[in-house]
Amino acid sequence: MDHLALDVAHFLAGGLVLVSFMLLYQDRMFGLLNIFALHALVVSLSVAWQAHIQLAPYLYITAAIALVVKAIIIPVALHHIVLRLGIHRTIETVVGIGQTMLAGIGLVALSIMVMLPITAEAGTLTREDLAFSLSVILLGLLMMISRRNAVSQVIGFMSIENGLILAATAAKGMPLVVEISVAFSIIVALTVVGIFLFRIRERFDTMDVHALERFRGGQP
């Protein structure tokens, strides 16, 4: 594995974390969709690069799925849904963007701290990729909980998935990666379908509290 290969992989993984931060920063709906497409693109490139350096052609399939499904179909579909359901174009945040970013930086530090003790035999690349993918996962979770908007939550979830795919491909020679990524794509698709089907316009949690009490059998 030569230096260049390592550098490119490093660059792409680092880029993914950066794009995650951009997702976290974005407060416009369509901007968010575009950045997510970029996120998926970076993952797809990263996977493809791994396929190249690991000499694992099946990873190209994963890369292709990521590209087609997540970089193209889903952003477009979501775009349509937003328009169709008349979803608000600005994203309601729970805490301020600045605080979210700070928390995100803390999460990245945490993931590096956690991954650091992993011994060298796992390989530098693996270690770094893992640290980055863990960062992406945590940032995705952070996004899910710091946004009130259903679409951005779904996007947070999909960025988690991207992080997972990064981790899976970084684990050199891992079998079933394709199968897993297909399985995951089903979930993702279902999420989007769910938003559409359940007509969740704004948030997961906009249903009024009285309705919730009835649903959850809370009345005495």
């Binding site: 945490l110 993931s111 956690v114 945590l138 979770l141 899910m144 948030r203 997961f204 509290v209 809370g218």
Partner: protein
């Protein structure tokens, strides 16, 4: 042999339960089930008596391949368990006999019949169990069966609460015992009692086990402050079951305490005795005071169980203290006193509950304020109830007096304790014992007087009819036993000797050898009592006086209206009621113990309203322990319940938070 018979009996009871389940709807089911239970009970009683009296020195053990798989179910029959089996099966026998008659009035036989034999089986098996798992399994099974019986009349208001508190307290006790056995068995899980006996307990551990055993057995037997369930649950069950629960099941709890603390735990420390004594004394006094304040007949009896359990625990505490100071005679005496009281209480408490059941059956009332004058309509029940009242009030020549007398003798042996704390506690507890005995007499004057004497206060009491012959047979069997144990206590004490022999390696001198069947616990110059002689003398003197007067003077008699200081009132409501009877004692003790407050409402002059007086009493144990707990749980439940209405985002935050925390933990760990 005896053990096999007893195990077979337990199996037979369980089979009877199944039969009852199958046949519950038949009209003959009641007779069939109680008759079967009676026959099996008689066999079991015979086996237990045989084991206690004729072959008490041999220990029989058996292991069945059930229960914990690698351990099996261990059973053992020694003197201690034989004694308690006698108590259990005597109670079971009379309860079955009583049930044969009383059970016919049962409205919901389907809810009683299947559980009654199961309850008997459970109590027998607890006493036979010889490993922690079997013990607790059968212990809780016993609780469960009795819970089902408490819930038999589930439609009556209050019974649901009674069952609720009962099962919860029982499980709390089981939990305490579970922890105690966990300590005794150690991490390797040596659950067999033999293994526990062989192991050497650590210093701090024994104290914890004692505390847990006190909680466990105390909550089942009704030691203050764990007594709250008892006055609720015992009255709720059908009367013969109340008798079993109050008279017998509490004794099984005492057995559990004795088994753990005297047998399994190894040599005691002196302060154990102090703790047990104090709890016993407090229970005795508070129990009887609570009882005095009741006007529900069965509830009064249930509270009295608290008192008697207190007396038993006083004896046990003394035995522990004597044992810790290597005073074997005292230990044997105190233990004999406690065990004799166990036996006696099971007799008269069952008897009284049967009586209360007969009253309930005849009138549909448990409230003494609505009874009265039943001695005219239920003369035989009245005689039996009077005998039971005399016995429980510790009056000679009945049996209750003998065991309290023995307890007093044990107290009087105790000034030689070297520990100062005991020197202070023992006489104080002695005073409590005396106080509780005196109050008990007052309480039963009230109970018997308000129920059976005077004039009928309601139409229901007016119409009452004498109860059936089988119920009466059960009651009079117990009357005879009470009297026998009272006037021939020597034989009964000798039967208890193997137990103290087994536990302490010491026993009282054989009593039946003394002249004229006098009982002499230690030395004749110290104390002695002869129930037979007293009985004969009292009966003789009374008969002689009556004979002389009737023969020599006059036996003329004229019935006339009561004089009542010149202004008799025909209305029975002018009688002294149970509540007014207790009023002086409530004035003396109640204001402190129950925070009793009287609220008097006097209508202003000229208004035609009745004046009213309300008495508010509080149960301090309930107020200070249980009510705050209830509030606390409610508060916590309300607080946590808000989580139910969180949004998905909030739930996700929980997940996120756990991930971050876990990662932080890992990062720090590394």
């Amino acid at each position: 042999m005896a053990l096999t018979v007893l195990l077979l009996c337990a199996g037979a009871w369980l089979a009877t339960s199944v039969v009852a389940l199958a046949a519950a709807r038949r009209s003959t089911a009641t007779s069939l089930v109680y008759a079967l239970a009676l026959v099996v009970g008689a066999v079991a009683l015979g086996a237990a008596l045989d084991a206690l009296i004729y072959s008490s020195d041999s220990i029989r053990a058996a292991v069945l391949p059930i229960g914990l798989p690698w351990l099996g179910a261990h059973f053992r029959l020694d003197a201690l368990s034989a004694l308690f089996l006698v108590v259990v099966n005597l109670g079971g026998l009379t309860a079955s006999l009583y049930g044969l008659g009383y059970g016919r009035h049962e409205q919901a036989p389907g809810r009683v019949l299947p559980f009654f034999p199961a309850f008997l089986a459970g109590m027998n098996l607890v006493v036979l169990a010889d490993d922690a798992f079997t013990f607790l399994l059968t212990w809780e099974f016993m609780s469960l069966a009795s819970w089902a019986l408490v819930m038999a009349h589930h439609r009556q208001p209050g019974n649901a609460k009674a069952g609720y508190i009962y099962l919860l307290m029982a499980s709390f006790g089981t939990l305490a015992l579970l922890l105690a056995f966990g300590l005794l068995a150690g991490p390797a899980g040596g659950y067999a009692f033999d293994a526990i006996r062989d192991s050497e307990p650590a210093a701090g551990m024994s104290a914890a086990v004692l505390a847990l055993a006190l909680i466990g057995a105390g909550s089942k037997s009704g030691l203050v402050p764990l007594h709250v369930w008892l006055p609720l649950a015992h009255p709720a069950a059908p009367s013969h079951v109340s008798a079993l629960m109050s008279g017998v099941m509490t004794k099984v709890a005492v057995y559990g305490f004795v088994r753990i603390v005297f047998d399994l735990l190894g040599p005691p420390e002196w302060w154990w005795g102090a703790v047990v004594l104090t709890l016993g004394g407090i229970s005795a006094v508070l129990g009887v005071l609570y009882a005095l304040m009741q006007h529900d007949l069965k509830r009064l009896l249930a509270y009295h169980t608290v008192e008697n359990i207190g007396i038993i625990f006083i004896g046990l505490g003394l035995a522990l203290a004597f044992r810790a100071n290597d005073m074997q005679v005292g230990a044997a005496l105190a233990l004999t006193a406690a065990l004799f009281h166990v036996f006696n209480h099971s007799l008269f408490k069952s008897l009284l509950f049967y009586g209360a059941g007969a009253v309930l059956g005849a009138t549909g009332e448990r409230d003494m304020e609505r009874l009265g004058g039943l001695i005219h309509r239920m003369p035989l029940t009245a005689i039996a109830f009077l005998a039971g009242s005399t016995a429980i009030s510790a009056l000679p020549p009945f049996n209750g007096f003998v065991s309290e007398w023995l307890t007093f003798q044990a107290v009087l042996l105790s000034p030689h304790f070297p520990q100062w704390v005991l020197k202070f506690i023992v006489p104080a507890v002695g005073a409590m014992l005396a106080l509780s005995a005196a109050l008990a007499a007052g309480c039963f004057v009230k109970a018997f007087g308000a129920t059976f004497l005077g004039r009928a206060r309601t139409a229901a009491a007016q119409r009452a009819r004498e109860t059936d012959a089988l119920s009466l047979a059960a009651m009079f069997l117990l009357v005879l036993l009470c009297l026998a144990a009272g006037i021939l206590p020597g034989y009964f004490m000798d039967a208890l000797a193997p137990v103290s022999q087994q536990l302490f390696d010491a026993r009282l001198q054989p009593q039946h050898l003394h002249a004229w069947l006098t009982i002499v616990p230690v030395l004749e110059s110290r104390s002695s009592y002869n129930g037979l002689l007293l009985f004969v003398m009292i009966a003789g003197a009374a008969w002689l006086a009556a004979w002389v007067i009737h023969r020599g003077a006059s036996h003329a008699l004229r019935r006339a209206p009561a004089w009542d200081c010149g202004f008799p009132d025909a209305n029975p409501a002018t009688q002294y009621t149970a509540g007014s009877f207790a009023q002086p004692i409530r004035r003396v003790f109640g204001s402190v113990v129950f925070r009793a407050r009287e609220h008097v409402y006097m209508p202003p002059p000229g208004q035609m309203q009745p004046a009213r007086m309300h008495v508010h009493m509080r149960d301090l144990a309930w107020d200070t322990l249980y009510a705050p707990l209830d509030v606390l749980v409610g508060f916590a439940a309300d607080r946590f319940n808000r989580v139910q209405w969180w949004t998905i985002r909030a739930y996700l935050s929980l997940v996120f938070g756990s991930v971050v925390v876990l990662l932080l933990v890992l990062a720090i760990w590394n």
